[in-house]
């Protein structure tokens, strides 16, 4: 999962972070903040009541005082966990904020340039940026091409190209133009820009609870209410039984029973989930998106760049009947001479390797290069007629384009070539038909190169219960062959933006949650429709707006990491909830006998941990309850490890560790604490 550009995770024992977090633990005691977390709010009220009881009590003041101290610690530890998680984000936000310096913008007004502060820019304004200028706001390049240093947001020092039109037109406020001049139309006003949102996200300032977090909070609150009821009614039951159950002891029982562990760590888990994404250079616009990533069960992956290496390579020349291979190779090489695409270059190289044909310059041949256009869907070269030779027109292109071309010239498309084309397609190659005038010379076979290790990755995904769908512009035959070779579950061939959108809608109608990546403006509808839409940072502004995540590294493979991070966050949440609830068993065995011992000494056998005294038993349970929050902070921040082994195996493993473990651990922990505090004669 590691990425070269991943930001380093701060160590858990970074004093630069812990210092402010300790302060944060206290400032978070404000009731206005506390009330958002009902579990910890109840704990704090309990701490206050116990403190008051400690001051007013005539007996056991030492014991009640210690209870109060540890109840306060429980609250503070929970606040501390949240503060640490936020602190890790803040450190990153600070480095981002440096990029958001006050800049002056060069606004174009009726063709004239004027200098105004960037903060006064409005949506729709045009600004000029030249080498050395900081781009004042998010926008779209409408004129020119420039290389831009985006290190401020991506941490990547290599500059990227931004140009008008096409899919690389978006620029981000705060990045710097290194060369050339561009005109940018502002799409986001200051304060709502990409960088601003990124900072807000990282800091967790505008963090809203995700749907599952809300549901979990309801469960925890309801449990708190139930246990409150249990402890409140215990007082009258005690009166009936002539057992004097003091308020501090009932509060101790209450705090031990309500799920303080998960209640204290819940927000830290959420914050650190987003933090883990950011360290992989993925920016989520909401926690909701991270949660949805865990649920995703269909991944739409672009073939190019994700499944295959970016470029297809020419691998064979397959001539038409009665044509010599050399002849085909020569024509193909000529047609590709000025073709700067990697495919074109690979044809030149192959011709040289196979038949020793040397590349020739277009100018030297006095030929005219015909570039690929969307209308003709062919490229090639035209030689003017000369004394020696008649005019020649060589074209290469996809089979249906060439067939049309040949038909129009009155030629015949040999059936043998059709067969060759089909064979190539079926084997996952891309056929490129070469034609000289109206004579079909043969086919150049281009092949996709599947990325190493991608097969295993898909197998993993399948184990996780995730279906992979390859999206490609190739024809169905080619697509099927590549899909089989790469090991994806399904493919969408000859994909248009509309087809992508339809595919997503269909999967969603079946109840699936779909994730996809995209960069172009025409991907925007699909990105918006997908449950998790990851836009590439190199993409257009439209794409970045439509998706709910942006990958700053523009690496489509990262979708898989994102899903894993989402899952990890959910697992951590579930595991700690289970652990927290399971803890109650041991706490009952510590506190209940201790509470009743004075009135009913016969209940002693129920003290199965053989705790020293009633006071030490109750105090040990409270101390354990507080310390377990601190002990689990690293786990909450790091996340429970995730292995793609299938739901049942994972459930078994986590139930064993956090369910059974949650029952067993506190027995040991409480006993240990009891031995220590009774050894120190604290009670």
């Amino acid at each position: 999962m590691s990425q070269k550009s991943a930001r380093k995770a701060p160590s858990l024992l970074d004093w630069g972070l812990i210092g402010p977090a300790i302060g944060g633990a206290f400032t978070k005691l404000s009731p206005r903040l506390m009330v958002k977390n009902p579990v910890m709010f109840v704990t704090m009220v309990g701490a206050i009541l116990t403190t008051i009881a400690g001051f007013t009590a005539r007996m056991d003041r030492g014991f009640i005082g210690q209870l109060a101290v540890w109840l306060w610690f429980t609250v503070l530890f929970a606040n501390f966990a949240e503060a640490v998680a936020e602190g890790r984000g803040k450190a990153q936000a600070d480095s981002l904020r440096k990029a958001r310096k006050e800049t002056m913008a060069r606004r174009l007004q009726d063709g004239r340039e004027e200098k105004i502060p960037a903060t006064e820019l409005l949506k729709g304004d045009l600004v000029v940026c030249e080498a050395g200028d900081v781009i004042p706001a998010d926008g779209e390049v409408i004129e020119g091409i420039a290389s831009v240093d985006e290190a401020a947001i991506t941490g990547e020092s290599a500059p990227v190209v931004r140009e008008s039109g096409g899919d690389r037109s978006a620029v981000t406020g705060g990045t710097r133009v290194i060369s050339d001049r561009i005109v940018v139309r502002v799409t986001m006003e200051k304060g709502h820009g990409f960088l601003d949102r990124m900072i807000a996200m990282v800091e967790g300032a505008k963090r809203q609870k995700t749907p599952n977090e809300i549901a979990l909070t309801i469960l925890l609150s309801a449990l708190t209410v139930i246990f409150l009821l249990v402890c409140v009614t215990l007082k009258p039951f005690g009166i009936y039984s002539n057992a004097d159950l003091s308020i501090p002891v009932l509060i101790a029982l209450l705090v031990c029973l309500i799920p303080t562990t998960i209640g204290g760590l819940l927000s830290a888990i959420g914050i650190s989930g987003i933090d883990r994404l950011i360290r992989r250079n993925v920016l989520a616009t909401s926690g909701r998106a991270v949660e949805a990533a865990g649920d995703v069960d269909v991944l739409l992956l672009d073939k190019t760049g994700t499944i295959t290496l970016g470029n297809r390579m020419a691998t064979a020349f397959l001539p038409a009947p009665n044509i010599k291979p050399e002849h085909l190779a020569d024509a193909a090489q000529l047609a590709s001479m000025a073709d700067e695409t990697p495919e074109g270059r690979s044809i030149v190289v192959l011709a040289k390797e196979k038949f020793g044909l040397r590349g020739r310059g277009v100018a030297q041949l006095r030929a005219k290069f015909v570039p690929f256009t969307a209308q003709t869907r062919m490229s090639g070269v035209d030689f003017p007629a000369s004394n020696v030779k008649p005019a020649r027109s060589i074209r290469k292109g996809a089979v249906d384009a060439i067939r049309l071309h040949v038909d129009r010239l009155g030629g015949r498309f040999p059936s043998a070539v059709t067969r060759t084309v089909d064979n190539i397609s079926r084997s996952g190659g891309t056929p490129l038909v070469v034609v000289d005038g109206r004579e079909v010379l043969g086919v150049v076979q281009l092949k996709d190169v599947i990325k190493g290790g991608i097969n295993e990755r898909f197998a993993h995904l399948r184990k996780m219960g995730i279906k992979t769908v390859m999206i490609t512009g190739d024809n169905p035959l080619t697509a099927a062959a590549i899909a089989a070779e790469a090991g994806v579950d399904d493919f969408l061939a000859q994909a248009t933006p509309e087809a992508k959108l339809k595919c997503i809608r269909e999967e969603q109608a079946l109840g699936h949650l779909v994730a996809m990546t995209g960069d172009g403006t025409n991907d925007a509808p699909a990105l918006a429709q997908a449950d998790v839409g990851v836009a590439m940072n190199t993409g257009t502004q439209a794409a970045r707006e439509a998706g709910n995540m942006v990958d700053l590294d523009s690496n489509p493979t990262k979708l898989i990491d994102i899903v894993e991070i989402g899952k990890q966050m959910l697992i951590t949440r579930g595991s700690l909830t289970t652990f927290s609830i399971a803890n109650d068993v041991a706490k009952y065995f510590a506190i209940i006998p201790a509470m009743l011992m004075a009135t009913f000494p016969a209940i002693a056998p129920l003290n199965i941990m053989r705790l020293h005294s009633p006071a030490s038993a109750i105090l040990s349970a409270v101390i354990f309850n507080a310390l377990v929050i601190i002990a689990l902070i690293p786990l909450a921040l790091r996340g429970v490890s995730y292995k793609p082994v299938g739901a049942l195996a994972m459930l078994k493993r986590n139930l064993l560790i956090y369910g059974l473990g949650g029952v067993a651990v506190p027995f040991v922990g409480i006993k240990l604490i009891d031995v220590i505090i009774s050894g120190l004669k604290l009670v």
């Binding site: 549901a215 309801i218 009821l229 009614t233 039984s241 697992i571 579930g574 109650d584 049942l648």
Partner: protein, 599 residues
Amino acid sequence: MHTSGWIELAFFVGALVLITKPMGLYLMRVLDAKGKTRLDPLLKPLERLTYRLMGVKPDEEQDWKRYTFAMLLFSLVSCLFTYAILRLQLLLPLNPQRFGPMPPDLAFNTAVSFTSNTNWQNYGGESTLSYFSQMVGLAFQNFVSAGVGIALAAALVRGIARHSSRTLGNFWVDLVRTAYYLLLPICLVFAVFLVSQGMIQNFNPYTKARLIEPYQLPVEKKDDKGGTVLDASGRPVMDEQTVNEQIIAQGPVASQVAIKMLGTNGGGFFNANASHPFENPTPLSNFIQMLAILSIGSGLTYYLGRMVKNQKHGWSVWSAMVVLFLAGVLLAWWAESTGNPIHQRLGVVASDGNMEGKEVRFGIFNSALFATITTDASCGAVNSMLDSFTPLGGFVPLFNIQLGEIIFGGVGAGLYGMIVFVVLAVFIAGLMVGRTPEYLGKKIQAYDVKMAMLALLVLCLSILGFSAWAAVSQWGLAGLNNSGPHGLSEILYAYSSGTGNNGSAFAGLAGNTPWYNTTLGLAMLIGRFLMMVPIMALAGSLARKKVAPASSGTFPVSGGTFIALLLGTVLLIGALSFLPALALGPIVEHFLMIHGRLF
């Protein structure tokens, strides 16, 4: 713990397994408005006629709100109907003993009790109620309150099984079909069987029998005005009275008992309930009655599996129930066979364990088994006196009720109670597979959690709240026959039984006082109807959801891991909330008994 007990237990579980599938398949037909049964030629015209008379359009389905409203409205009207009969029984036919009207508080308690399928009885049937009251006022409720429970379970299961649907079925259709096709035919056969075992079924006035051995009874001497005559030291003067005849109560017993068991109502015709020879004549009638209590609850788990097209899930839920059932039986049986250590120290030979309050013809095992079953389900019929059980033996029925009677449970109520726990188990542990929780492909979201927890909260609030109030109030303590922890158990048991709609009692509590009648009545209403609303809301919410197709990443809702998880959730979430109160009741009492103190 004799071998005969083990053999009978094996037979019982075997019989339960055997009837589960046929019952489940039959429920599939009954609870499908268009389902076909062999009884159609006979009952279809009657069914159609009923709809016409009620003005019900059987094809029209209801959403959860309308379904719930119909259910509540029906329960209210039928409750008032029963109340009226109890108050007016003197004016109504079939009252050979000329019983007067029931007092208002007792009539409220009784009407609520039978409407809510609780059948808590603060009265003695043979000394209070006319045959008409029994048959029309109460037996009618035995049928329809069972029908309401089954209808609710069916609506919830439909909510799980359907997707993107607003409706959950038609309450009136479910009620009518359940009564006509399921309860009436089975009860008819069952009642005939019971008569064959010696159970009575008549409208005769009570019979007087001359005793072969008349006996003397000390009674307080009364003066002319009816006051007690006191001696010099202020104690009442006692007279010897000779008793030489016995009144033997009669009545249409078999027909009442059949539905009392099948519908998990539990309200006895006689005060002594299923320990009365006329209400439970033979070991075979005892066995079949116990089986009848669990039959529909068990069949409903199969219905669940069928409906959601995951039979393994149905059987897994069933297995979790059986594990809890066996644990309860074994604990109660062990506690009762071990008996009272104080008796043993005194040299009393009680080789058979604690026989106090038990029928000799049933013995330890059948009493413990019956007590466990009647509280696993929300039946509440008893064939022994729970108040006389050992502390741990009595702990089992109390604990069973407090779990929410989800071990097969009351007809319908058991299943929907268990599904609440399934939803919670899935929600808590579901996250651990790395997805937001889903139950059979449906996302469990904030609203669903809220409704599920609300149902639990209602149970807790009513049981603990009322018990705590009674435990420290004058009226509460006045009803106690026993002091100390045992007294607390009695109070706790009363409100648990009322809220859980069980109806059995730790009979040491004198509950027929205005305070107890009213608070227990409220507990029964809360436990039934405040539970129903959130569960119906849950059903409505689940029905509206889309279903995510299953994959290897889907949370498994069958198999050993799921069963263990469900058990863990039931015990942790369901039981832990009552543990402190139980500690002050039966648990402390147990330890005190070991140290030689009784209450």
